[in-house]
């Protein structure tokens, strides 16, 4: 057992050595901590699945419990944005890469991340339908009105008007990028998909503390 753990440590160190060169924002020690955290989370998972990486349910738990996210659809989307190879599991590399943007990303990286999250169909555009889907619960419905969704539709139109710079009826990445650069508040325009400063701080404190007993 002792030997195993020592080997494991060696393995983790090597992996961290490699990853921290590929990923921005984290140094080797931090990368090591994140890998260790990852393997801890995997340990909670059934053996069979652990081979592939972190599954959707575990990941959503983290988003919900650690980063205070509540919207199911947004959490699934964030999962998809982390899961770059679309294999429904988050590998250790995807984990470190994803967190690097999620926790410490520069504006450009975050714009890309959020666009990926909002691009539900993965076709490179955010369409009216996608917006409607993401914003469907963002307004109190007026049941008295003929079409209770009228308000939402209107807000979608407002958002589209603000973002659709090339007037093609959908928001491309460059539309989105330009909009957010003009007005940073619109980074998370279609739903909360990034952690707030407080939970970032809490997560980092927890994750990057010196491991006990070493």
């Amino acid at each position: 057992m002792q030997k195993m753990s020592a080997m494991n440590r060696k393995l983790i160190q090597n992996l961290a050595e490699t990853l921290c060169k590929q990923v921005k924002h984290f140094d080797k020690r931090e990368t090591e901590c994140l890998i260790r955290l990852f393997s801890g989370l995997l340990g909670e998972q059934a053996e069979r699945r652990a081979a592939h990486g972190l599954d959707r349910v575990r990941f959503r738990n983290i988003l919900h419990n650690t980063f205070g996210m509540t919207d199911d659809m947004m959490m699934d989307s964030v999962f998809r944005a982390f899961d770059k190879d679309n294999d429904t599991y988050i590998s250790v590399k995807e984990w470190v890469e994803g967190l690097s943007v999620f926790l410490r990303g520069a504006l450009d990286e975050k714009i890309k991340f959020c666009f990926d999250v909002y691009n539900l169909h993965g076709d490179g555009y955010i369409s009216r339908e996608e917006m409607l889907q993401m914003l469907k619960d963002s307004l109190i419905r007026q049941p008295t009105e003929e079409d209770p969704d009228e308000g939402i539709k209107d807000i979608v139109e407002i958002a589209l008007k603000k973002m659709d710079h090339d007037h093609d009826g959908k928001v491309s990445y460059s539309d989105f990028e330009k909009t957010v650069k003009d007005e940073n508040l619109l980074l998370e325009a279609f739903g909360n998909c990034l952690p707030d400063a407080k939970s970032v701080l809490a997560f980092e404190q927890h994750a990057f503390q010196e491991p006990h007993g070493h």
């Binding site: 993401m134 914003l135 619960d137 963002s138 307004l139 109190i140 007026q142 308000g151 209107d154 807000i155 407002i158 958002a159 008007k161 603000k162 007005e183 508040l185 619109l186 998370e188 325009a189 279609f190 739903g191 909360n192 707030d196 400063a197």
Partner: protein, 959 residues
């Protein structure tokens, strides 16, 4: 002044009782209601003491004074609160009662229960003048008339302000309509957008002093009048379309002092209608009057602060607004001095809350209105995500446009935006503040934000760790705190301390991190907010106590203009306080202020010059300005004559700096006098006051007198003697007086009839002007050939000056004594002033302890002895004994004049006896030992006269 309220209120036939008529009862009820809750509404004002107490026969008894603020002793009752002389502010010894403040009057009325009406009636019957005064105060405080009065009187100073124009336009709008007796059809601005300075004209036309343009439809002239209001007056223009569709205005008419005057000239219908409509007429009456001076001031407050929309009283009673009303409010605005400069910059601008203009929203609402209404509706039911989208959409409206600003308010948007500030979502807060920051440039929005408690929330946001959020909150506070109540709210909720904390940053790091740059930006926002807040005196004190001064001093080292402007703006605002003036000097800020005089931003230069203006009353500060080589840049700035605010600040700084002779020498070197003389024409009064002040200082050096003459300064100076601005007159009289010491100058002054102008200023009610005029008259008499003849030619002039010996003001008395001494050198004139009773009046003043007055009084007595039996009369009037005591004064200049007076008086034996009895000989013997030959001789001659009398006496006794 008789045509005031007394016409409205009905007195009984013997004029000492108020008739029991319905009208009187209405008036009394109004006064009663007003007085009863005065203390609650205006606690600060209520504590101000009356100049003279109210006294009347009361039906109250000691037993009625149940409150513990009174002390009852038998039948009498007194308040525990006392004035400085320890006499109680309320005193009852039945049936007489004396009350010294509104606080006690309010209390008394509350105690009198069912007898209130009787009491207020008795009180008013006690003194008819009080009725006027009450009404005046009532109108000033309760009505928007405060604005009327203040605004209306600004033109009296020769210049229009945006506020004055606004008030006048609001007034005119009341007289538009469709009825038979309307005075006008319509009045409207050509532009809805109001700049933060209150002007509506585009900035490039504001440069020429324009405030706004109006379109007025009258009932009888050509369909539409295009009128432009500018700071120098109102003119009627013809609109032509220039190239590129820009409207150019061509001046077509002469300048009128205000819109009403212009309309009266343009529209006969308006002139008639205006005179028929009481309210209007009354205001016109006030505008036409040019001099308002108090006869009796009952009570004065510097801050009639609250405005209610109760003009009912005014309209229903049709009271003529008397001169007295104006006195009450005008009095607080005394002229002259740096302190006054600051107050005017502080309290006038935008300070007063304006009545809401909700009713004026046109019925055909623009499409923006409906769009904004829809967005605000969404905001009310949106989650964070949709809220941010909607907020961003709102920001896409043109928020500097008043229609959009008021639309947001009118659909309840301000409530929602302010509620968002209380949420946890930082993006919603930022989005909301970004909108509030923009729209709070509108004064009505500011007031609503304050009403809704927005300031409290914004102050608490200043504690946030998010720097963008903090900065936005501070910037919005900067916009909202443009009126007194808002500034007070910020202070009372701990905002000043938090804002001062924002200033803590390193402004000039060599390589600043992004974080440090954000700190600097937050500090800049904090400085902006403090700048707005610093217009209230108590906030200045709070900033100081929160440790703001060293932080401001550090920021003053910044090289960024957008940082320096609010920082220096705050400093110059606070420099009205002595503590700041000292700190600016001791914390080394003069050097930075001087450095920035040479920057390339006129606003910053203006604030620096203005700070120096206020601080340079202090000698050491003046020296520092010279040592840091600030005098030359100041003189250079005189060339920026187009920017009047900058010019006013610059000339002010030069004026104060020129109090030091070393600085005057520098100014001579830089040829400043020639430039200053050139600025004596066609300048606004705030510039003229300073220019003339500076010339008056420079003229203390005799070689400058010729410079002023050679550069053509005498004539414009003499011309300014005909003005009405008290501060300006105070300086002009000084300058002309200084110039008159040069005989060549005097020839010009005489030719321009300057002495007559000076003499007529003795009638000016302002003591400073009176005194300076009298001082100026002295060298004029001295340096004019046939001065006696000239003085006699002023009809009533001698009587006028002699009567000024009744003044209560020591400076006036000293100056008048000095002038009388000069006048008395002409025997014929001495005879005339003797007839006017100069001898007893001078004798009456002899018991003074004021050395300056003693000196000139003694001189006047010495000179006046030389006619008829004046010498004897002085003795009989008891002038001799007090004069003897003047010899004990510490001031040697008193000794010489006194010795000369005593010598003259010693020509009468009885006077010699009096002197001897008062121990004069011993004192004179000391004087004989003086190095001053005139003093020696006068003292010796006086002793000789006394000696001769004693010898003669001995001879008579012993043969």
């Amino acid at each position: 002044m008789g045509e005031t309220f007394s016409r409205a209120i009905q007195w009984s036939s013997d004029a000492d009782q108020l008739e029991n008529s319905p009208l009187n009862n209405d008036i009394l009820t109004e006064i009663l209601l007003f007085t009863e809750d005065f203390d609650d509404r205006y606690p600060k004002e209520a504590r101000i003491l009356f100049r003279e107490p109210l006294q009347w026969k009361t039906s109250l008894e000691a037993a009625d004074f149940t409150s513990d603020i009174y002390d009852t002793r038998g039948e009498a009752a007194v308040s525990l609160e006392c004035d400085d002389n320890r006499s109680p502010l309320l005193q009852l010894s039945p049936p007489d009662i004396t009350v010294h403040s509104f606080y006690h009057l309010s209390n008394l009325l509350q105690l009198s229960k069912d007898k209130t009406m009787k009491e207020i009636r008795a009180c008013l019957e006690g003194d008819t003048l009080i009725v006027h005064a009450f009404i005046a105060i009532l109108l000033l405080l309760v009505n928007e008339l405060y604005f009327c009065s203040v605004c209306v009187f600004l033109p009296r100073e020769g210049r229009l302000s945006p506020e004055a124009v606004n008030t006048e336009v609001d007034l005119l709008k009341r007289f538009c309509g469709t009825g038979e007796n309307r005075a006008l059809k319509s009045v409207s601005y050509t532009s809805d957008y109001v700049f933060s300075n209150g002007c509506r004209s585009p900035p490039w036309r504001q440069m020429d002093g324009e405030i706004c343009s109006l379109i007025i439809e009258t009932c009888d002239t050509e369909p539409t009048l295009f009128i432009t209001c500018s700071t120098s007056g109102v003119f009627f223009d013809e609109r032509i379309n220039g190239e590129g569709g820009v409207n150019y205005y061509m001046r077509k008419s002469e300048l009128y002092k205000d819109i009403i005057t212009l309309l009266k000239n343009m529209s006969p219908h308006f002139a008639v209608a205006a005179n028929e409509q009481g309210f209007f007429y009354n205001v016109l009456l006030c505008m036409d009057s040019s001099h308002f001076y108090p006869e009796k001031i009952l009570w004065e407050s510097t801050s009639p602060s609250v405005c209610l929309k109760d003009i009912k009283l005014w309209a229903s009673l049709n009271i003529n607004m008397s001169n007295r009303c104006i006195c009450v409010c005008m009095h607080s605005k005394s002229p002259g001095g740096a302190g006054d400069f600051s107050e005017s910059s502080s309290e006038d601008e935008e300070d007063e809350e304006q009545p809401e203009r909700r009713a004026e929203i046109p019925t055909d609402l623009p499409s923006e209105y409906w769009q904004i209404q829809k967005l605000v509706k969404y905001l009310k039911g949106a989650n964070q995500t949709a809220t941010v989208i909607v907020l961003c959409a709102l920001r896409d409206f043109n928020l500097v446009q008043e229609t959009c600003q008021l639309a947001i308010r009118d659909v309840g948007g301000l409530e929602v935006l302010i509620n968002l500030l209380d949420t946890d979502d930082i993006r919603c807060k930022i989005g909301s503040l970004k909108i509030l920051k923009e729209i709070s440039c509108n004064s009505q929005i500011r007031q609503t934000i304050a009403d809704l408690g927005g300031l409290q929330t914004m102050v608490s946001i200043l504690d946030s760790p998010d720097k963008e959020l903090k900065g936005l909150a501070a910037e919005t506070i900067a916009n909202v705190a443009k009126f007194r109540r808002a500034r007070r709210t910020v202070r009372q909720h701990g905002g000043i301390k938090r804002l001062v904390e924002l200033l803590d940053c390193v402004p000039n790091g060599v390589s600043m991190s992004a974080e440090q740059e954000r700190d600097v930006e937050v500090a800049r926002c904090g400085a902006l907010a403090l700048w707005s807040c610093s217009k209230s005196t108590r906030n200045k004190e709070s900033i100081r106590r929160a440790g703001g001064i060293p932080l401001l001093a550090r920021l003053l080292k910044s090289s960024q203009k957008n940082m320096l402007i609010p920082v220096v703006g705050t400093l110059q605002e606070c420099a009205s306080e002595k503590s700041y003036r000292i700190a600016i000097q001791t914390e080394g800020m003069i050097e930075d202020l001087v450095k920035n005089l040479s920057c390339d931003n006129q606003e910053l230069q203006m604030h620096c010059a203005s700070a120096i203006f206020k601080c340079a009353e202090d000698k050491h500060t003046r020296d520092l300005v010279r040592q840091y080589e600030g005098l030359k840049p100041l003189v250079m700035l005189l060339n920026e004559a187009e920017n009047k605010q900058l010019l006013a600040a610059t000339t002010g700084a030069i004026w104060k700096c020129s109090i030091s002779l070393e600085n005057v020498a520098k100014f001579q070197e830089y040829k400043a006098l020639e430039i200053l003389v050139g600025l004596l024409k066609d300048q606004p009064e705030e510039v003229l006051v300073n220019v003339v002040g500076a010339l008056a200082e420079c003229a203390q050096i005799s070689e400058n007198l010729a410079t002023i003459r050679k550069s053509g300064g005498i004539q414009p100076l003499v011309n300014l003697l005909t003005g009405t601005n008290q501060a300006l007159l105070g300086n002009v009289t000084r300058a002309v007086g200084a110039c008159a010491t040069d005989p060549e100058n005097m020839v010009i002054i005489d030719r321009l009839d300057g002495v007559r102008l000076l003499w007529s200023l003795l009638k000016n009610p302002n003591p400073e002007v009176q005194a300076n005029a009298a001082w100026a008259i002295c060298p004029c008499i001295e340096n004019t050939k046939d001065a006696g003849e000239m003085v006699r030619s002023f009809v009533g002039g001698l009587e006028l000056i002699v009567n000024l010996l009744k003044s209560q003001n020591k400076a006036v008395l000293a100056s008048v004594c000095a002038a009388i001494a000069k006048i008395a050198k002409d025997v014929e004139n001495l005879a005339v002033i003797t007839d006017h009773g100069v001898v007893p009046m001078l004798a009456n003043l002899t018991n003074t302890g004021d050395d300056k007055l003693r000196r000139y009084l003694a001189e006047a007595i010495a000179c006046c002895c030389k006619w008829g039996s004046n010498c004897v009369s002085f003795g009989e009037a008891g002038a001799v004994a007090p004069l003897v005591h003047y010899l004990r004064s510490k001031d040697p200049s008193v000794h010489q004049a006194t010795a000369r007076a005593l010598f003259e008086l010693s020509k009468d034996p009885n006077n010699c006896i009096t002197m001897h009895e008062n121990g004069v000989v011993k004192l004179l013997l000391i004087m004989i030992g003086s190095t001053d030959e005139i003093l020696q001789e006068a003292a010796a001659s006086c002793v000789a006269n006394i000696r001769r009398l004693a010898l003669a006496n001995d001879k008579a006794k012993y043969g």
